[in-house]
Each structure stands twice: as structure tokens, then as C-alpha cells.
Symmetry: C2
Subunit: 496 residues, 2 copies
């Protein structure tokens, strides 16, 4: 085993295997685990927890940074190990259990989980399970491909389990910027005024006496599933790039734009990829996740710097990043998610936020999380942190899907994650609606004219016209009919 | 006339009467006017604009800080002078016109209007109309009882009209803290770490050459309508005070609490008044509006400092404030609304935010703005700025009203202003629901158990039970039935 990864010799006797470490868990505990968009998650200890839970009554509340890789959430769900889960997930099996009411899920703004813990608005963390590249002489921990909520979990947990992942080179040291705002009422300024500012330590401080177990692994992060650009995502990316070019022409932005945030998924990736062949330069990211497209832009010279809380890339890109770590280290930084996503910094930096909607309505309200108003998909993630505070808040979606049986532009969204107040620009493969400076009735006509799939345009216009005539109001709606498209889809499999 | 209020003699020849000043307006212009919750608004120039519009085609886009006093919005509406209005209003006549689609209204987060103007996301301001106590030698303007968006309007407008209000003593100088964040991409830290920090100038810088007219007035602000506490608002206040006491007992807060924000209306006033007889001390406010209750708390020694964007009080309290200005000046400050309401400061200071809901639903989504999903009441105001970023986000409402024909707790709100992510505590006269750390299904049961009027409890429980059984999901809903209470009220005048 790689004891050289433990610089504090007094910890050598804490080294155990995953099954032994998993003995520390008890029924009813609160566990805080590393992992953000599948990066830097626990590879073996949560897996061992699942195995234990298959055989005995052992349910925990699991908090993470965001989503986990390696089907860990599925394994934990199948084993009945999850009582409550927060703040985000993307797993099909877990999602089903949440929607059946078998696992309780709290869908949180990613900037807020750490706040809630520090403010004692959530139960205290019993055990932290944190992936690390190595442990420093004083017990401090150098994280791997994500920071997430690990700083908070390590500072608040009663006991700590460290998974040292020897697959991640020690040279990752220096990639992270570890800073935590002070607790209330002593909070001070977070002194970041540009994505490239480093304001903290390179490792996470840890009370060495709390380290109860150390486990070695050498398992790589689950790769990102990246769907290649298709006709629709390319169309969306093109609309958006043309919009940015126009904003530059109007003098609203320079060719450097402003720091970019891009949500998860193929559209975000397509948009970022689109910048490669554009005239924009010296771009910066202030985002949550660095995806393949970020490294392409860094390599092509289009992007100067990228700040986020995790690196979630394909296997091919993973190898590229780690064989060129020295080169990238000056140009990327990973931060705790209560820094990468904090409202004040997003507003201060003037971030351009691009996130994906499940559906949006004629007034520009966005649903990011629920199918049919009831079933959760993933969670709000950081979309609210960014959309509310961004210089420009952009949401993208395909106009229609499933053989065009679903329209993603609707009379009324079945669940609201982002209100019309927080949505500036909507883009589908059909076109782009610039909603800035428009009142609700103007927003509706602009969205109908620009974003709707042709099969649905007439019906949506009819709804809007009738709502104005029958009910009027600042935001005309016929409440009895507002969800009829969702109801029709449930009953007939089509919104048509 | 009081020319001594114009310290820059070269401006003497700009003095005109209101009718003459109003000749500067042209059809289609964008007007930015002072005024925030009826305080520090234009008393005569907008009135003269309304009179002109009665006789000729003269429609403008009117932006303000927030609401205006003196029925100015009603007069402008009746005269047909308003094409578009933003970001907030509380006027019955204007509201009716908005809901008929005769006036376009943009309902904005109060922190954002200035951002949108500086970022050129709204049309440029042609004329600023700003109430002032006096004009300094260099043309700088000392505002009166509100700051609102006046700094932005004065800096961006092509022409400026100043209304010098001689009713406001010159000794108001020093009450205001005038600071503006830099434009992108040059924005720096806003260096406030406590409500009492002063970081700016005492007057608003103005390009003296843009001052096109100066008008004298001596008309006092419209008084706040303060309904005395009644059984319901007292009950709500008591629930809330008991909750704060419990939080102190648990060690979550100290007796000093954290800076308070309280929305407009009688409940907010009742809650603040309740602090007078409590054990809390050294309280601070970081809010939008200072109401009568603020001055009562300052006088009783319970409150040490209050920061806001305006002072909106009863006539009696107005006299008290201005006869004791020196005494209060060290303990209150008025800021631009893009400082008083900026997300980063609200999060940094850990504000406890108390706002009023029109209705909320079993999952804790809040509607602050719309009646029956269509008709706007006032607007979101600052409630979103505070609720999203607060240490604790509290919404209050009566459980039922209009002879209990309206339940304010519903299966689904007809319009969402604040999503369940942003709502920690709900209080009605029936009781308080602490939603922290709860998943949606738990939230629903807690709300039903604690907040609902007895006449509606069974029906709401039935909806929730059937939604779980029939549809399940993370957020169980029967979409066809979700708005049936609103529909019943529309058809029968009662939700029963
Ligand atoms: C919104 C989000 C789910 C979109 O992801 P995506 O992969 O582009 O999603 P799609 O458009 O393919 O749609 C997701 C699914 O919902 C289905 N769906 C969408 N609207 C539907 C509707 N009205 N009724 C039924 N199904 C619907 C789609 O058909 C698709 O189903 P499938 O996976 O079975 O094919 C994803 O971006 C997300 O979770 N966002 C929230 C978090 C976030 O924004 N984070 C940003 C910072 S990381
Ligand atoms: C929400 C808000 C309107 C509540 O104000 P309030 O004076 O306490 O309001 P009430 O509870 O008395 O209700 C307002 C009206 O809506 C009516 N109403 C409420 N729910 C209704 C419903 N479901 N159907 C029909 N009418 C309804 C009430 O009966 C009342 O009507 P009335 O004025 O004709 O009597 C007000 O606080 C507001 O505008 N808030 C948004 C802005 C904000 O929060 N700012 C905070 C920072 S300043």
C-alpha cells in the first residue's frame, strides 16, 4: 500500500479496508461524502456501506457535494441504505425510489447545503467520507477532482474516513483553493474579484484526531456521458453564439464576454464547443463543473482561465488532464461549492449563466426538476444560484421531443424552479427569445414567435389569446386549462 | 423661494414651476423617478406630467425605486400617461390598468433594476425626476427620505429635473450612504460587513450640466397606512417570537439574533412591535424600509442600528423622526436599493427575512404577487432578494380570510414567486411550520398540521393523501385538481 500518501505517520495505524471502515456507520447516522457531478466521490466505503445494509437494518442520511459516480446511489438505494438524501442526484434507481416515497430527498441550491450545516439548520454530520490524493503532515487533506462540500463535512463531522485514491497523482496539489466564509455573525468579505483569484489554502484543514479510518483505492472517476452534438443542440448553440455576437456589436459586451457558467448536459457542451470556432477570446469560466469542452477551449487558446468545483470529463479527457496537469494547473482552480456557487460572487463577477430546462412556459417560468409536476428528475443543482444572480440568465431546451409528442414550451410549467423574474433569454432549436425589458404579455408573444415547435405554435397562441380574452390579468391564464397539455400527455402519450 | 437650497448659483436660472418642467417630457420617453415605498417621491412634476397627458398624447415608461405616494400612479394611469411601469407599484387604479393589459408592468427584484439599466438590458433613461433636500455646490444632490434607484437614474439620465422639497430639513445631510458598484467587468467588493458600515458619499454625484430644471415643493411624503395589530397579526407575531426564543435556547442564535428584514404590511409591523416586550436586545435591521416599529425599537433601546433604502412612517412618526434627526442619524442609514437588497450582502450579513405571502402551498411554494394566478397585486418587491439569500427565510400569511372563504394555504399556488427551496419557515395565525431539513412530503404534512385554518384542514389532507396514492412522486400532485380551490372560489365566491 501507498503509505507515502500519508505524511502523518501517526495515522498509519488507521489504515483499514473498506469493509472495516464501513463498520463505523450506524443506523440513523448522517453521512457527509465527497463527490460532485461524479468527480472525487467515495469509490469503496459507500459501496461497503451498501453491502452492509443488504444484510442488516442500516439506513443513513447521505449528503454529498452533488451527484455520485459508480452507481453508488443505485447500490445504496437497492440495499435500502438511504433514509434521506441531499442535495442533488442523477441516478435512475435512486430517482425511482424518491418518486415512490421510499427515499426522502431534499433538493437544495448547491450553494446552500454548507450554509445550512454551519447554521445548524440540518442535523449534525456524524461521519465524513472524503476522497483524497494524500494526507499532509498535520492531517490536512488534499482533495482530488472535486471539492464540493468536503471542507464543511471535514470541519463538522465527528469522525472522518479518508479514501486515498492513488490513481490521482500527488501533483494535483495546488489545484484547489480552499477557503470558507466565517460563521455568523462574524462573516467577512470573500475576496474574489476575478475567476483566477486564489484566496485560500491548498489543502483542507482537518482535526487529525477525528480521522478514524483510512482506506486506499485506485479507481478512476466515472466518465462523463457526453452525447455528441446533434442537429438540435447545434441549432441551439448557433442561436446563442449569434446572440452573443449581436451583443458585442451593440456594445453591451466585449469579445471577452463575461465569465461563463454552463450547466450539465449535451446542450451546454455544444454551446461551449461552439466557441472554438468563434471570434471570442480570453474567455473565462466561473462555473460548477469543468467538462471536456472547457479543456478544448483552454487548449485552443480561446479560454484563459476556468474556476469550478469539479472536473467531470470523458476517460480520454481525464488522461489528457492528468498527463498535462502542470500545464493546466495555472489555468484552472477547484473551489468549495459554497464559493463556486455563492450568490454574491456570481453577481460580482457578472456571470453569463447557461442552464438546461425540462420545460418552460409562455411567461418564461422554468421547470428544471420535475416531470409532470410530480416526479423529480435530478434536482435544481446550481441552476438557481446562477440564474438568480447572473448578468445574463439563459435557459435552453429542445422545442419538442419523443417524436414531438412532448412540447417543452407550455401554457404553464407543472413545477417552478426559476420564476420569470430570473430568466432573461430562452433558446430552443427553433430560435431565441430575448425577454429583457418585456412585460409578461410581451414575453408570451416573443416566446411563442421564437421558441415553439411548429406543431404546437397554433395551440399555444390560442391558449394565450383565449387567456387574455377570458381572464385578462398581468399574467393571463385559464387555470382549469393550464395543465391540460400535461394531462393529455399522461392520458394519451402525446401533448398533441 | 428657497434659493439657499441651491448651493450652485449657476443653477438659479434652472428654477421653474412644475408645469414648465413637465414640458421636458416627450411621448415615448423613459423616465426614472425617485420614490421608494411612497418615500422621497416626486410631488409635483409627475403630477404635472399627468395633467399634460390628460390633454395630449404623452405616454412614457416610468421606472422608480418602488411604490409612489400621493396617488401619483393613479393620476398617471387615469391620464393615460403610462406605457410601461417598473419595478413595483401598490396602486389600485394602476393595478387595474395593468390587469386589463392597458399598462405594461415589469415586476422586478428591487435589487436588479439598477443592474439592468447599467448593463443596458433596458432602454436608456431620458429624464430623471428626483426629490432632493438640497443641491450641493458641485451639483451633487442630497436625497430626502429614500435613495431607491436615484443614484442610477441621476448617473444615466440625459436630463435631470430636481424637486427640492423644503419640508425636509437640510440637516438630513449625512443620513444617506451613497455607493455604487462598478460596472462589469470592473466590479469590486462592496465593503459592508455590518448594517452600520458606511462606505460611500453623503450626496449623489451629478453632472451639473444635465440639470435641466429645478422645482420647489414643500409637500410631505404620503403617510404609511398602518393597520393596528389585530388578533391574527398578534398571533402570527407570537408564534414567531416564540420560535426565535427557541432558537436561542437551542444555541442556534444569540439574544442579539441576526440583522432583521421585514416586508411591508401590518404583519411585519406587528412582529417588529412584538420585539419591544421581548428579551432580545442590540437588534439590527438590514432591510428595505424603516417603518414606525423601527423607530419604536430604536427608542426603547432594543435596536441599535437600522439600514434600509427608505423611511415610510405615519405622520406622527414622521414628525418624531424629523424633530430628533440628530439623535437618529447615528443609528440609521439609507442606501441605494441595489445595496440594501443586494444578494451578496444579505448572505454575508445572515439576514433574518420576514415577508408576507398572498398564499402558499403544501410544499412551501409562495405566491407574493398574483390573485387567482392572473391578476397582479403589487409585485415581488425585495422579497426575492431577501428570501433567497437570507439566513432564515420566513413567510407569514393569515390562514384564511374574507369570512374564511379564502384559504391562504392551498394544494398548489396559482403563481410561484418563491420556490420551496427558498422558504424555511411558514407562519399563519394558526401556527408555525419549521420546514428546515424536510423533504417535500414531510413539508406537506408539517404545513397541514400547523398552518391551515381548521375549516380547510381535512380537504387539504385529503388532497395530499390522494396525490400520494394516485400519482406519487417527489412532490405528489394531481394536476387536474391542483387549482380546483381557486376555480371554486372564482365560481362560487368560496373555496369551501
Ligand atoms: C433539466 C435536465 C434534466 C435536462 O437534462 P437533459 O439531459 O438535457 O434532459 P432532456 O431534455 O433529454 O430531458 C430529460 C428527460 O425528461 C423527459 N421529459 C422532459 N419533459 C417532459 C414532460 N413534459 N413529460 C414527460 N417527460 C418529459 C425527456 O423526454 C427526457 O426523458 P428520457 O431521459 O427518458 O429521455 C438537466 O439539465 C438537469 O438536471 N438540470 C437541473 C440541474 C442544473 O441545471 N444544474 C446546472 C448546474 S450543474
Ligand atoms: C403579499 C402582500 C400583497 C400582502 O399584503 P397584505 O396587505 O398583508 O395582504 P392581505 O393578506 O390583506 O391580502 C391582499 C388582498 O388579496 C386578497 N387575496 C389573497 N388571496 C386571495 C385569493 N386566493 N383569492 C382572492 N383574493 C385573495 C385578500 O383578500 C386581500 O384583498 P383586499 O385587499 O381586497 O382585502 C404584500 O405583502 C406584498 O405586496 N408583498 C410583495 C412584496 C414584498 O414582499 N415586499 C417585501 C419587501 S418590501
Amino acid at each position: 500500500m501507498s503509505y507515502e500518501r500519508i505524511k502523518a505517520e501517526e495515522l498509519f495505524d488507521k489504515v483499514v479496508n473498506a469493509e472495516q471502515a464501513a463498520q463505523l456507520f450506524q443506523h440513523g447516522m448522517v453521512v457527509g461524502a465527497s463527490g460532485f457531478t461524479k468527480a472525487g466521490d467515495s469509490k469503496v466505503v459507500l459501496d461497503a456501506l451498501a453491502k452492509r445494509a443488504e444484510k442488516e437494518e442500516l439506513k443513513v442520511t447521505l449528503m454529498t457535494g452533488a451527484s455520485l459516480g459508480h452507481d453508488t446511489d443505485a447500490k445504496l438505494t437497492r440495499a435500502g441504505a438511504l433514509a434521506k438524501r441531499m442535495p442533488f442526484q442523477v441516478d435512475r434507481i435512486l430517482r425511482e425510489a424518491i418518486n415512490k416515497g421510499e427515499v426522502l430527498f431534499i433538493d437544495q441550491h448547491l450553494s446552500e447545503s454548507a450554509e445550512l450545516l454551519h447554521n445548524q439548520c440540518l442535523p449534525p454530520v456524524d461521519i465524513a467520507v472524503i476522497e483524497a490524493a494524500f494526507i499532509e503532515r498535520d492531517g490536512s487533506v488534499v482533495p482530488t477532482t472535486s471539492v464540493g462540500n468536503s471542507v464543511t463535512f471535514l470541519s463538522l463531522a465527528k469522525k472522518i474516513i479518508i479514501e486515498i485514491n492513488t490513481k490521482v497523482p500527488e501533483s494535483i496539489y495546488g489545484l484547489h483553493d480552499i477557503f470558507q466564509p466565517e460563521n455568523y455573525p462574524h462573516r467577512n468579505v470573500i475576496p474574489i474579484v476575478a475567476p483566477e483569484n486564489r484566496i485560500g489554502r491548498r489543502s483542507i484543514p482537518v482535526d487529525i484526531n477525528k480521522i478514524a479510518a483510512i482506506v486506499f483505492t485506485d479507481i478512476q472517476d466515472s466518465p462523463a456521458d457526453i452525447a455528441p452534438p446533434d442537429a438540435k443542440t447545434t441549432a441551439i448553440a448557433q442561436h446563442l453564439l449569434r446572440f452573443f455576437e449581436d451583443e458585442v456589436k451593440k456594445g453591451h459586451l466585449t469579445d471577452r464576454l463575461l465569465p461563463l457558467q454552463a450547466g450539465i448536459g449535451k446542450v451546454a457542451n455544444a454551446v461551449l464547443s461552439g466557441f472554438k470556432d468563434s471570434n471570442f477570446y480570453d474567455l473565462r469560466m466561473f462555473s460548477e463543473v469543468l467538462q471536456d469542452s472547457t479543456f478544448d477551449l483552454l487548449d485552443s487558446g480561446k479560454m484563459s482561465f476556468a474556476s469550478a468545483s469539479s472536473i467531470t470529463v470523458s476517460s480520454e479527457c481525464y488522461d489528457r488532464v492528468f498527463s498535462n496537469l502542470q500545464r493546466y494547473k495555472d489555468r484552472i482552480v477547484l473551489r468549495p461549492q459554497n464559493i463556486s456557487n455563492t450568490p454574491g460572487l456570481i453577481r460580482r463577477l457578472g456571470v453569463i449563466a447557461i442552464n438546461t430546462a425540462i420545460e418552460f412556459d409562455i411567461y418564461g417560468n422554468v421547470n428544471s426538476t420535475h416531470i409532470g409536476g410530480t416526479n423529480i428528475m435530478n434536482g435544481i443543482g446550481g441552476s438557481g444560484d446562477f440564474a438568480r444572480n447572473a448578468y445574463l440568465s439563459i435557459f435552453v431546451a429542445q422545442a419538442a421531443s419523443k417524436d414531438d409528442n412532448i412540447s417543452h414550451v407550455l401554457p404553464m410549467v407543472s413545477h417552478v424552479d426559476h420564476t420569470e423574474h430570473d430568466v432573461d433569454i430562452l433558446v430552443t432549436d427553433i430560435g431565441l427569445a430575448d425577454l429583457r425589458g418585456l412585460a409578461p404579455r410581451e414575453r408570451a408573444q416573443t416566446i411563442i414567435d421564437n421558441c415553439v415547435h411548429p406543431d404546437y405554435r397554433e395551440a399555444l397562441q390560442s391558449y394565450f389569446d383565449r387567456a387574455q380574452a377570458l381572464r385578462g390579468g398581468h399574467t393571463p391564464h385559464i387555470l382549469e386549462e393550464a395543465f391540460s397539455w400535461h394531462t393529455r400527455f399522461r392520458e394519451t402519450g402525446s401533448m398533441k
